[in-house]
C-alpha cells in the first residue's frame, strides 16, 4: 500500500517538474519566421488600435497587385519593439518597417538600413501637417512617412470634481499649483500620474521644459551639446516637478499606478482624481469605461498650462506625432519599389483618412476641419486636430527622440527624481554624463 502511494507521489512530482520546466521554456516570445523571405514585399504591423485600418490598406493593395501581395505579420506593441531592431540589425527586416521615428530612425539611417523615400512621398508630404511630417526627416532627407493618426498629449480633467471643489481649469502653472492645494483640501488626488510606468512622467518634464525654455532646449540635448541637461530651463522644470510632488499633486502612491492597466485614467473617471496628463490615445478608454461621464460633458480636455515668463509658445505640444513607415535597404529592388508605391497610393489616402475618422482617430492631414465636424462625436477629434494643426512645434516623446541608451538613463533618473531619491541638480549631472 505504502509503496503504491509512494510511486504515485513520485509520478506527480515528476509530472509537475516537467510541467514547470516546459512552462519555463515556453516563456520566450517566438513570433513566426522572418518576413524577409522571398522576393515579394513584406511588412510588420501592430495589433490593436488601428489594426483594421491597416488591414484594409493591405487588402486594397493586394487586390490591385495580385503579383506583389504583401506578406504581413502582426505583433503586439512591446513584442514588436524588441524584435524589429534585432531584425533590422541582422538584415532580416520586413520591407516596410513600422516605427516611431526619433533616435531609432536616426540609427537606422546612420547604418544605411533604410532608404531615402525621395519622390514617392512628395505628394503625401504636401497634404501632411508640417510639424508631424518633420519627424520623418533625418538631416533633411525623408526616411520615414506618417502612416496613421496623430496623438498629442493633453490635460484631461473631471469637470464634476473641479466643480465640486470650485476650481477653474488652470491656464498657468501657478493656477495649477493653487488648484492642487484646493483639491487636496477636498480630499481628492489633484493629478493622477502613472508613476509605475514611468513614461507618463516624461510628459511633465517635456511640457514644463518646453513652456519654460522652448523647443531649443531639448534640441541642444539631441545635438549632444555639453551640459545641455543643465540648461536653466530644465533645472527649473525639474524643480517645479519636485514642487508639485512635494505639494502632494500626484498623491502619495503614484509609484503603484500603472498606465498599461489604465489605472491613471480610472482615477479621473471615478472621481478620485481631478486631472491626468495623457496622450489622446486614452480617450477611447474614457469612452468605454465611463460613457455617462463623457456623454454628459463631464470629461474636459485642455492644453498644458503656460508658465509665466516662459519662452516657449503655449501652443506647442508634445506626444506621438504619428507612427511611421520606412523602407528597408536590405529588401530586394522589386520589394522596395512595391513598398514605395504602396506608400504613395495607400498610406493616408482618402479612404484611410475616412476610416481613421470613423474610429475617432485624427490623421495628420491638412484641411480636414469640415470632415471632422461632420462626424458623430466631433468634439474631441476637433480639439485634437486643432491642437496639432496650430502647434508651431510638435515634440516627439523624449524617450523616442533620444538614442535608446540615453532614453533608458532618462527614464531611470526621472523616476528617481519623482520618487525624491535624487534632486534636480543630481538629475542634470547624471543626464549630462550621457551626452
Amino acid at each position: 500500500m505504502r509503496l503504491r502511494i509512494g510511486r504515485r507521489t513520485g509520478a506527480v512530482v515528476a509530472t509537475v517538474t516537467a510541467a514547470a520546466l516546459l512552462a519555463a521554456c515556453g516563456g520566450g516570445k517566438q513570433p513566426g519566421g522572418a518576413a524577409a523571405g522571398g522576393d515579394g514585399p513584406s511588412a510588420w504591423a501592430l495589433t490593436g488600435g488601428t489594426e483594421e485600418v491597416f488591414r484594409a490598406q493591405f487588402d486594397a493593395w493586394d487586390a490591385e497587385h495580385p503579383d506583389q501581395e504583401f506578406s504581413v505579420e502582426w505583433f503586439a506593441n512591446d513584442a514588436y519593439k524588441e524584435k524589429i531592431r534585432t531584425a533590422v540589425g541582422a538584415g532580416n527586416s520586413p520591407t516596410l518597417i513600422y516605427g516611431w521615428s526619433g533616435g531609432t530612425l536616426a540609427d537606422y539611417a546612420a547604418n544605411g538600413k533604410v532608404v531615402d523615400l525621395g519622390d514617392s512621398v512628395t505628394e503625401l508630404n504636401e497634404r501632411l501637417i508640417p510639424s508631424v511630417a518633420a519627424n520623418g526627416e533625418v538631416d533633411g532627407t525623408t526616411y520615414a512617412v506618417p502612416n496613421t493618426h496623430t496623438q498629442p498629449v493633453v490635460m484631461y480633467h473631471n469637470k464634476e470634481v473641479l466643480d465640486a471643489a470650485g476650481v477653474d481649469v488652470p491656464t498657468t502653472y501657478d493656477e495649477l499649483l493653487d488648484a492642487v492645494g484646493t483639491l487636496q483640501d477636498e480630499g481628492v488626488t489633484p493629478i493622477a500620474l502613472a508613476g509605475q510606468s514611468v513614461w507618463p512622467e516624461l510628459m511633465w518634464i517635456q511640457y514644463l521644459t518646453d513652456r519654460i525654455g522652448g523647443p531649443e532646449v531639448f534640441q541642444a540635448v539631441l545635438d549632444g551639446e555639453e551640459g545641455a541637461w543643465s540648461d536653466p530651463a530644465i533645472v527649473e522644470a525639474t524643480t517645479k516637478i519636485r514642487e508639485l510632488v512635494d505639494a502632494g499633486a500626484f498623491g502619495d502612491s503614484f509609484g503603484s499606478v500603472n498606465a498599461d492597466q489604465n489605472a491613471d485614467t480610472a482615477l479621473v473617471h471615478t472621481g478620485k482624481a481631478a486631472f491626468v496628463l495623457q496622450g489622446s490615445w486614452v480617450y477611447p478608454n474614457f469612452l468605454e469605461a465611463a460613457p455617462e461621464l463623457v456623454e454628459s460633458g463631464g470629461l474636459g480636455y485642455t492644453t498644458f498650462p503656460a508658465v509665466e515668463g516662459g519662452a516657449g509658445d503655449p501652443a506647442n505640444i508634445v506626444g506621438n506625432p504619428s507612427n511611421f513607415w520606412s523602407v528597408s535597404a536590405d529588401a530586394s529592388e522589386d520589394a522596395q519599389t512595391a513598398a514605395k508605391e504602396f506608400i504613395s497610393t495607400e498610406v493616408l489616402s482618402d479612404d484611410v483618412v475616412d476610416d481613421l475618422l470613423e474610429i475617432g482617430a485624427v490623421p495628420p492631414i491638412t484641411g480636414l476641419e469640415d470632415k471632422i465636424a461632420a462626424q458623430a462625436d466631433s468634439d474631441h477629434p476637433s480639439f485634437v486636430y486643432g491642437l496639432v494643426r496650430d502647434a508651431p512645434h510638435f515634440q516627439l516623446s523624449w524617450d523616442q527622440a533620444l538614442p535608446p541608451a540615453q532614453a533608458q538613463e532618462l527614464l531611470d533618473n526621472l523616476s528617481q527624481l519623482f520618487l525624491g531619491q535624487i534632486d534636480p541638480q543630481q538629475f542634470s549631472d547624471a543626464m549630462d554624463a550621457t551626452l
Binding site: 505504502r2 512530482v13 531592431r85 509605475q196 502612491s253 509609484g255 503603484s256 535608446p404 520618487l419 531619491q421
Partner: protein, 281 residues
C-alpha cells in the same frame, strides 16, 4: 547514444555561451557591426552603480528567498504528507499557484496591490491600501513575497514526496523510545529529508539568481532601481538600452556565479556521494 543530446547542448547552450563571452569584449548596439572594445565593457559595467546595486539586490533576493521559502515549504510539505482528508483538501489549494504562469500572477498581484482600486478598497481594509509596489522601501519585500507565493507550492510538493518515502517503522521505533512529535521531526524527518533539502535549496538558490519574468511584469525593476536584480539589469541593458557589450558582461557574471553556486552546493552537501540514509532497514 549521447551524440544527439551533446550536439543539441553544444548548439543551443555552449555556442551561444561562447558568443556572449566574445560579445562581452565588444561594443555593439544591435544595429551596426560589433567593434572590439577590449576590457572596456568589464570596467564600465563593474563600476556602474546601477549594476552594483543589482548585484547587491540579487544577493538579497537569493538569501531572503531561501530563508523564507525553505522553512515554509518544509513545514507545509510535512503537513501535507499526513493522510487525513482535510490535509488532502488543503494540499490541493496550496497547489494552485503552481498552475498559473508567472506573468499572470504578476498582473493579478499588480491589480490586487493597487492602492486605489485593489484589495484594500474591495475589502474595505485601509491598511491594505499601501503603496506596495510604488514605495522603494517596500517593493522588494512585496516582490519576495510574491515569488515565495509562486514557488512554495512546488517545493512543498518535493518535501511531501520526501516525507512519504520515510519508512513508518522509523517513527514507530522512535515512539517506543518515547520521542515526542518535535523530537521525531528533528531526529527522523529532517535527517531523512537531507537530499530533498539539498535539491530544493539548489533549485531555490539558482532559480533566484536567474529570476526574471515575475519581477519584469510586476515592477519592471522599479520604483527607481529598487527591484532591478541582475537578470533584469541584463535584459534592460541589452534590449532597452541596446548596449549588448555591457549586457553580455552581466550575462557572463550570472553564468559564472550560477555554475559556481550549484557546484559548491553539490560539493559541500556531499550529494555527489549519495550514500544511503537508511542503513539497517
Amino acid at each position: 547514444m549521447a551524440g544527439p543530446a551533446l550536439a543539441l547542448f553544444g548548439v543551443f547552450a555552449v555556442v551561444p555561451l561562447l558568443g556572449v563571452v566574445v560579445l562581452s569584449f565588444m561594443s555593439w548596439d544591435g544595429l551596426g557591426d560589433p567593434v572590439w572594445a577590449g576590457i572596456d565593457n568589464w570596467g564600465r559595467t563593474l563600476a556602474d552603480p546601477v549594476t552594483q546595486n543589482a548585484m547587491r539586490l540579487t544577493v538579497v533576493v537569493t538569501v531572503v528567498s531561501w530563508l523564507f521559502q525553505a522553512p515554509v515549504s518544509l513545514l507545509l510539505g510535512v503537513f501535507m504528507a499526513g493522510r487525513q482528508r482535510y490535509r488532502a483538501v488543503l494540499s490541493v489549494l496550496y497547489f494552485l499557484p503552481l498552475l498559473f504562469s508567472a506573468a499572470a500572477v504578476a498582473i493579478a498581484y499588480r491589480a490586487l496591490l493597487d492602492p486605489n482600486f485593489g484589495l484594500g478598497t474591495a475589502l474595505g481594509i485601509p491598511w491594505l491600501s499601501q503603496d506596495w509596489i510604488g514605495d522603494p522601501d517596500l517593493a522588494l519585500w512585496v516582490v519576495l513575497f510574491v515569488i515565495g507565493w509562486c514557488f512554495v507550492p512546488f517545493h512543498s510538493l518535493l518535501y511531501q514526496g520526501g516525507v512519504r518515502q520515510i519508512p513508518r517503522s522509523m517513527y514507530e521505533a522512535a515512539l517506543l523510545d518515547g520521542a515526542g512529535r518535535v523530537q521525531q521531526f528533528l531526529h527522523i524527518t529532517l535527517p531523512q529529508l537531507k537530499y530533498t533539502i539539498i535539491t530544493s535549496s539548489t533549485l531555490m538558490i539558482v532559480g533566484s539568481l536567474t529570476y526574471f519574468d515575475l519581477i519584469f511584469v510586476l515592477t519592471n525593476g522599479g520604483p527607481g532601481n529598487a527591484t532591478r536584480i541582475l537578470p533584469l539589469d541584463m535584459y534592460l541593458t541589452g534590449f532597452r538600452s541596446y548596449d549588448m557589450g555591457k549586457a553580455s558582461v552581466i550575462a557572463v557574471v550570472l553564468v559564472v556565479v550560477g555554475l559556481t553556486v550549484s557546484l559548491l552546493l553539490n560539493r559541500l552537501s556531499g550529494a555527489n556521494k549519495m550514500e544511503s540514509q537508511m542503513e539497517g532497514l
